[in-house]
Symmetry: C2
Subunit: 700 residues, 2 copies
């Protein structure tokens, strides 16, 4: 397999040279050699050190040139200024991959950055993989390889982890030992001079030992490449990530930490979502989700049944479900009938099914068996509080047995600590996630439902719109030639018409008489809008008049607008006014935005018109090009969506019409990367169509 | 002290009788007797059992009548149908308080409910305290009293806990043992037949052993009484609560569990907030917050400094801070100077202060000492990840020592598990909260900042408005007499005028000529609105015309409106049209709502006008009567507040004017509890005033 082969030398090396291996126990060059040796690695290990003949019982070599064979992996752990030299020596003996543990590069300023660039260039020229510098190392538990300066290797398991923060690796390793978490691969990305998060994601995606991938990132090197890889990987396995720096304060801290500029927060979120990555905000969630994905099947739907021996926690679970958008399943008639016979009269047979505080393990078992058979339930959560009658280990046993008979995911939530401990351990051992509270169980299930939907989403439909690209090209090219960054209104409308966007009939009038004649031709009522290359923000200057009904009104408005603007902006050249047909009266107004993100390319936003959308952060963002599904989701995921569906007896808007406009603007963004910004504001949406009544286009 | 005395017999009994004590080890009547005896209780303990002479080495008595003295506390643990009889016997010997462990009452249906009511009546008549039934019991660690059927008593500490869910008590008890949490009082409320959450809150508020109160509630018995008590208690100590059933799904589960109807979700939240209660959504937060409050001083402001040995977790902390509304403090020039000398050149001196992964304990100490002296910092968070160089216990020692020299709260976040364990234990022992992730530390600090603000909020100002209550009384009384639930427009406006609310000049016109005359008197432009006792939702019926500029337009609109409404509602009696002055043109439109909540009384809402407010859940709720501060907060806490402050160069609205209207409506709600609903929609707000252009009043 080509993709696996590509990273073979790094992850599955047959031989390793440690350049900078040391005999002194407290040196990292000793620690990493000891870790490789101590983890049970079965390949060849060559310490390289000019001053030692033997290290840890292994023969040491003075330099890479003296090695008996070309190592698959060379690990460098030397003072900064010796690293490049060592890399060159390794390159000469045709090393497959180099891992640089040494720090002091990009993160320390200009000089380190330049050194790092030369290292990356060398790796590219000599075609070897470069992980780091400033990496904590890597672990491949399938090979019993702990090539890291972490003190203890993680347990074997099916979770792949990569992190841009070395310290977080250390914390997570320590944490995983206490929690009984098992990893397949563990990679500290370091400064990402060459090997990027996209490469590691690809490697883990193809790794048969990895079932779930989790990661921590502060920046993404090549946004589009990362998305492309992630989209392919998330078709096969869940990818759960924390992106640090998702607030202004966090972004400031990121850039002072890594020296890298983060893309916009919106673009990053959109990229993750469009690539099917599950984004979480904290490390705890990363693990709660990883645990669930690593050992339970995906639920086929969002219908959860909660079985509890106490009402209170059941209510908390119900609250968490509703807040997360999960449904409490309605038990089938057969289930209710079975439960009525199996449970005491005071039990609540409806979900949450409350089997009452005096329930022993048998009552749990009978209930779980009924629920597991119920077609209306997609997932099961068992709550247990340590009441006096609770049979904790016996209940854990019942949960384990029933879970073996069903393909629904099963989650346990044993509340407490000391008394429930043995039961919890049994469950975790048997591969049933057991949480201390209902909320994380609900969060994990929500993510699994979302991932199942992602894997089963309809094939993305490529939509191609008829357009006169040549005409648009001519207009945009002209604007660029005369260094006009914002297109004039007539130009922008011409581009819109080249893309067959629905725009109102409109004519540029240079006099009030021309305006009246144009209005007659277009049909009343009309709008007038000032046209001037020197003016932005027409509305603020009162450069717009709406709903003009008669020739007299049109003439008066023309004079009003032009004289007012001339007064307010004495130097501006005024081309005249655009006379436009008015849109439907009872339309809802929406906005489509387009802008270029430094890391991820063209980013599109959809929202209701007006300042509220920004204030309330109610804008749906996606990276272009959009699929039909993206367009449909954008329109529906804003919180204001009910306004489009219609409130107080209004009919729904024409969704097809607005989705078409989104897809057309996406096409425009792909056709013309030189469009720096576009704003279609407002677009009038009614039950039978859409009309772009105003748009701005800025080119670079 | 009267308040403590009131609950003395329950919490600090000198003698206890256990009615239903048993010799059989697996019976609850045995377990509770053994628990009291085993916990070290130093008062007198009398088992009551007609069939035993001796239980657990104690002389047993056949019945309460045979007891050698009147017990302070009687505990009943008998089959349901014997409970009332035992209570009567205890009442006869003048018991001070009764705790009923037995279950099978309100939670099981009608018969149990009636029995429970009789128990409550007996307690009221005989003037003893009744806790339960269906209670797990209570614990008072100060007296070494474990009068509960929980298996182990909690550790001694300063946290008071009460819960409506017995099972949750058991879970939390078990959890606290593993986490080293200490409690002062621990109360299982049971069915709250007599003793309510308000009583327990009052008792814990007055209890010198309790520093922090935490609680779990599913329903509140007497909303106003609870608020009154809570307001008094939160002046002295923090009260942190989970209210289960805060979603529709949760509320359904609650009512099936407790048989009690919850008040509206909005009213409950408003009540908690107005009483200064810190409301959390999950059990984990309850403990994270309790830990912080129980051992750290309150911060004097919201400025946090983060000290970290790794960039990644620092960024996550910064993200969490911004999301929670905390500020990252700017270090003072002196601090920066000190740090520049103390830290290596690659350290980041700005907050988060990154002392780099190779930091030992000394670097932490020097940094913390500088930050502790910094006047611009209100609170300190120390992040540690277990890097190879980390000195974990030595760093914990440094944190503990520096924390002794400062009155700023100090939080630690040692990330990991096994390696950082010893450091974490040292910190917790020394009273420094130590979390596994930055997010819960930020959440706890946020709550402490809020509580500090609550304790130092300005005195609530009683505002009294001039009003003609007699006039309003006459109008409302008249509507009630003729069984009119919704007041007519002119009536509603008359009430508004009696309260001197700013309403537009308006006149009822019965003909188009009258309308034109009225318009001339009022001054153009005017609005026309249909008036009919049979019509609700004027706008839906097109019963409104705005911005009429000439007599001809007024006459035409009058005919239009009346004929249209007559056509659409053939049977309706039409009084005519209200002719109204138009408000300012560029006003922002807001809404004030008033409605009666079954549990908490008059509830008021403030929002922007239009369907978005409800769709986006952007409504500020408070219970009337409002203080001036409440009114100010309502206007400012909606997410749309920037619209009122002014966007795109708009001036801010007249905040005083809208606050006055809120306070006036609050006054109206207090004066007239018979007002079932009121809606002032829209209120036009401009930079120089407010105008209530439409209002609906419904009376009962």
């Amino acid at each position: 397999m080509q993709p696996v082969d590509r990273f073979q030398a790094l992850f599955n090396p047959h031989s390793i040279a440690v350049v900078g291996a040391s005999r002194h126990q407290d040196k990292l060059g000793h620690i990493i050699t000891a870790n490789i040796q101590g983890s049970g690695y079965r390949g060849k290990l060559f310490p390289v050190n000019p001053k030692a003949a033997e290290i840890l019982g292994l023969r040491a070599y003075p330099s890479p040139a003296d090695l008996p064979e070309a190592p698959d992996l060379g690990i460098i752990i030397l003072p900064r200024d010796q690293v490049l030299g060592a890399m060159e020596e390794l390159a000469q003996v045709k090393v497959g991959a180099v891992l640089v543990i040494s720090a002091g590069f990009r993160e320390t300023g200009r000089q380190g950055f330049e050194l790092e660039t030369r290292m990356a260039e060398l790796a590219a020229r000599k075609k070897f993989i470069l992980l780091g510098p400033n990496s904590l190392g890597l672990v491949n538990t399938a090979m019993d390889l702990n090539a890291s300066i972490a003190l203890e290797p993680p347990a074997k398991g099916n979770i792949g982890f990569f992190s841009q923060s070395g310290a977080l690796c250390a914390a997570i390793l320590d944490w995983s030992l206490g929690e009984g978490f098992g990893f397949s691969k563990f990679v500290s990305l370091g400064n990402k001079a060459a090997l990027s998060e996209a490469d590691v994601l690809e490697a883990m995606g193809d790794d048969p030992d990895t079932k779930v991938i989790i990661g921590y990132l502060e920046s993404v090197e090549n946004g589009r490449e990362f998305m492309r890889v992630a989209q392919r990987v998330t078709e096969k396995k869940p990818v759960i990530m924390i992106k640090a720096g998702t607030t202004q304060a966090g972004a400031r801290a990121t850039s002072s930490h890594t020296g890298s500029v983060a893309g916009s927060i919106e673009a990053g979120k959109a990229a993750f979502a469009q690539a099917g990555i599950i984004q979480v905000n904290d490390v705890e969630s990363l693990f709660d989700l990883a645990r669930a994905f690593s050992c339970q099947p995906l639920p086929k739907g969002a219908n959860l049944t909660v079985v509890t021996n106490s009402g209170g926690p059941g209510i908390l679970a119900a609250d968490a479900c509703e807040a997360a958008g999960l449904h409490l399943a309605t038990p089938s008639a057969a289930t209710v009938e079975t439960l009525r016979e199996a449970l005491p009269p005071y039990a609540s047979l409806y979900n949450p099914i409350d089997i009452i505080g005096d329930a022993g393990a048998d009552r749990y078992r009978a209930t779980l068996e009924a629920v597991a058979r119920d077609q209306l339930t997609d997932a099961i959560m068992i709550l247990l509080t340590p009441t006096a009658s609770a049979q904790i280990t016996e209940t854990a046993e019942a949960v384990i047995e029933v879970s073996k008979t069903t393909d629904k995911p099963v989650f346990a939530c044993f509340m407490g600590d000391e008394r429930i401990g043995p039961g919890r351990n049994m469950l975790i051992e048997a591969g049933i996630p057991c949480y201390a509270y209902p909320e994380p169980a609900v969060q994990a299930l929500t993510a699994m439902v979302a991932h199942h939907r992602w894997r089963h989403r309809p094939w993305s439909v490529e939509v191609c719109f008829r357009r006169d690209k040549g005409k648009a090209d001519k207009i945009i090219g002209e604007a660029q030639r005369i260094h006009l960054s914002e297109l004039s209104q007539p130009q922008a409308f011409d581009v819109a018409m080249a893309y067959e966007l629905p725009v109102p009939e409109s004519t540029l009038a240079r006099t009030s008489d021309q305006a009246a004649r144009a209005a007659k031709k277009i049909g009343y009522p009309v709008a007038l809008k000032i046209v001037s290359p020197h003016i932005e923000g027409r509305r603020a200057l009162d450069g717009v008049a709406l709903n003009l009904e008669t020739p007299a009104e049109v003439r008066a408005a023309f004079r009003d607008i032009t004289s007012r603007v001339m007064r307010k902006r004495p130097g501006a050249y005024i081309s005249g006014c655009l006379v436009q047909a008015m849109g439907p009266k009872k339309a809802r107004e929406v906005v489509i935005r387009l802008r270029q993100d430094a890391h991820f390319g063209p980013l599109m936003g959809f929202s209701m018109a007006g300042p509220s959308a920004e204030i309330l952060d109610d804008i749906a963002w996606r990276l272009a090009p959009l699929t039909l599904q993206d367009a449909q989701e954008m329109v529906r995921e804003i919180k204001s969506f009910p306004l489009l569906r219609g409130v107080r007896g209004e009919p729904p808007v024409d969704f097809g019409a607005i989705e078409d406009i989104l897809l057309t603007v996406s096409q425009m963004a792909v056709d013309f990367p030189e469009i720096r910004e576009a704003e279609l504001n407002p677009i009038l949406l009614s039950e039978d169509g859409a009309l772009v009544t105003d748009l701005r286009l800025t080119v670079s």
